[in-house]
């Protein structure tokens, strides 16, 4: 990444590295924090969205909370890990806490879904019925995620849905690499079991 050649301007916000942004924020540059926020916002939002039952309000709230917390504590960030794993750690903790709170209050993540006999439509076409079918299909998958334990949901969301490496996941969750592997394996197994009807349909296609 070329940092020196372009000290100002729009392009700068795309080429400047996370760690340099962090340094600027630590020196009081609020705009540099906005660069980081825009860069990572979608990932954080999607992580929260999937961990919190695809509820956009919950996801937005958690995203805001994560970035406020990051803004307030970025002075303490020492750069031992990368900024993004540091940020993800905040996000996972916030989302997990909220998920457990919601589970206690509404039992939303423990009730079995009513649409488990839904026949999925995987073909990507644009007819309204098929779009509806696709949304139902996503809802089916989301329900399966909702039924996972928090530990399984977070590891599966990080690695399968966010594309985080095993090593980074270990750092984010503060667990050994072998635990990442075994936990991911059990999460996938649980989802495979939960999605059995869907998989049967799949194999008949």
């Amino acid at each position: 990444v070329n940092r020196e050649s372009n000290p100002t301007g729009e392009e700068d916000s795309e080429t400047i590295s996370d760690s340099e942004c962090v340094g600027r924020v630590q020196n009081g540059d609020v705009d540099a924090f906005e660069i980081l926020r825009r860069r990572h916002q979608k990932s954080i939002y999607n992580l929260a969205y999937r961990m919190l039952g695809a509820d956009p309000h919950e996801a937005e709230e958690i995203t805001h909370v994560v970035f406020i917390q990051a803004y307030k504590s970025i002075r303490k960030f020492r750069g031992k890990s990368s900024f993004y794993t540091w940020l993800y750690r905040i996000a996972v903790n916030q989302a997990k806490n909220r998920r457990q709170q919601l589970a206690r209050e509404r039992k939303v993540f423990t009730d079995p879904s009513s649409d488990s006999d839904l026949v999925p439509e995987v073909v990507d076409t644009r007819s309204p019925e098929q779009i509806t079918a696709k949304k139902e299909f996503w809802g089916y998958l989301q329900n399966a995620l909702n039924r996972l334990s928090s530990d399984h949901c977070e590891i599966f969301t990080l690695i399968n849905l966010q594309g985080v490496s095993y090593e980074d996941a270990a750092e984010i969750l503060d667990i050994p690499l072998n635990t990442v592997k075994s936990r991911l394996s059990r999460a996938r197994e649980a989802l495979a079991k939960d999605c059995e009807p869907l998989l049967k349909e799949w194999s008949q296609l």
Partner: protein, 329 residues
């Protein structure tokens, strides 16, 4: 490659984390094992199903709401400012703060005070009924405090231990001395004369700078301070007398009481600091000074006057057989 081995590696296999050799091992096993192949298919399909879940965009208005949130956060007073505002706007909080400071100050004062009174207590130092109850309770309290504070880091601990040693020595020599005297002589006219009994009656304990124990002579001869020492001193010392007439009388009376009752008598006198040494020598007129110790390091050290607790111990009979003690200083 065995079945469990292959299944353990399926995650990494599908995530393309295995090296060439491990990958070939898993594939060979899947080729030959139908069960593991079924399991691998399940997992593969599951991965693909969930890969169909789309990444979503934050909803409309997200940016505006974020900016508002950030602004709100930036304008929020920090913890210190909030505490300051609460303090400024709330009378109960202010009252509580004042109370807290008062209690704290009281606590510190009392702590200091008790450690002072540790040194003040001499054997038989009670001079009234009330004084006795206070005095008897005090040594136990003080002993406990001193045990708690040992090994002490405070500046008093060494002095305290020294005083304790002195007390022990004196207690050994004077086993039944801890009795109240019959009374004390009121000294209403002279503010320079402190009277321990009066002070204790008023509910306090008087901090003293020096503690002097005098063993009265057994001799019945009436060598008096007023007759010899003090009066001559009055003329010797320019700019003021070592002892006022009242003080001389006080000591005389204490000595008399000691002789008559056979019990220790204590008086507290306030004298000019510069006269302390002379005063001590003057006490030799009425008896042998067995110990004279500076107790504690009072804040009034720089003051012009010092307070001396004089304890007059009656002579042990018969004359001349008084137990010899190592002198304290």
């Amino acid at each position: 490659v065995k079945c469990n081995e292959a299944q353990d590696r399926l995650c990494e296999y599908f995530d393309k984390r295995l090296d060439e050799q491990a990958r070939a091992g898993v594939e060979d096993h899947l080729f030959s094992c139908a069960n593991c192949r079924t399991e691998a298919d399940r997992l593969d399909h599951t991965n693909r199903l969930f890969a169909a879940l789309p990444q979503v965009e934050p909803p409309a208005g997200f940016e505006a709401r974020w900016r508002a949130r950030l602004q709100e956060e930036q304008s929020k007073p920090n913890l210190w400012q909030r505490a300051r505002d609460v303090f400024r706007n709330s009378v109960p909080v202010q009252a509580a703060a004042v109370l807290l400071i008062a209690v704290l100050a009281g606590f510190l004062y009392q702590k200091e005070h008790v450690s002072e009174s540790t040194r003040q207590t001499a054997p038989g130092a009670g001079s009234s009924e009330k004084g006795e109850t206070l005095d008897r309770a005090a040594p136990a309290r003080q002993a406990q405090r001193q045990r708690e504070s040992e090994p002490g880091t405070d500046q008093f601990s060494e002095a305290s231990r020294q005083d304790q040693r002195e007390q022990r020595l004196q207690e050994q020599a004077e086993p039944k001395s801890a009795r109240p005297s019959t009374g004390s002589v009121p000294q209403p006219e002279s503010p320079a004369v402190g009277n321990r009994g009066e002070y204790l009656r008023a509910g306090g304990e008087m901090p003293v700078d020096y503690q002097v124990v005098v063993r009265a002579r057994f001799s019945a001869s009436d060598t008096t301070l007023s007759g010899t020492r003090a009066e001559s001193k009055q003329s010797d010392v320019p700019g003021g007398s070592t002892l006022s007439q009242d003080q001389v009388q006080t000591l005389e009376q204490a000595r008399r009481r000691a002789r008559e009752t056979g019990q220790a008598q204590s008086e507290v006198l306030t004298i000019p600091r510069a006269h302390y040494e002379d005063f001590k020598q003057g006490l030799a007129e009425i008896g042998r000074v067995e110990s004279a110790a500076a107790v504690g390091m009072r804040e009034t050290q720089s003051a012009e006057h010092v307070t001396v607790l004089v304890t007059i111990v009656p002579a042990a009979a018969p004359a001349g057989s008084a137990p010899t003690q190592p002198s304290a200083r």
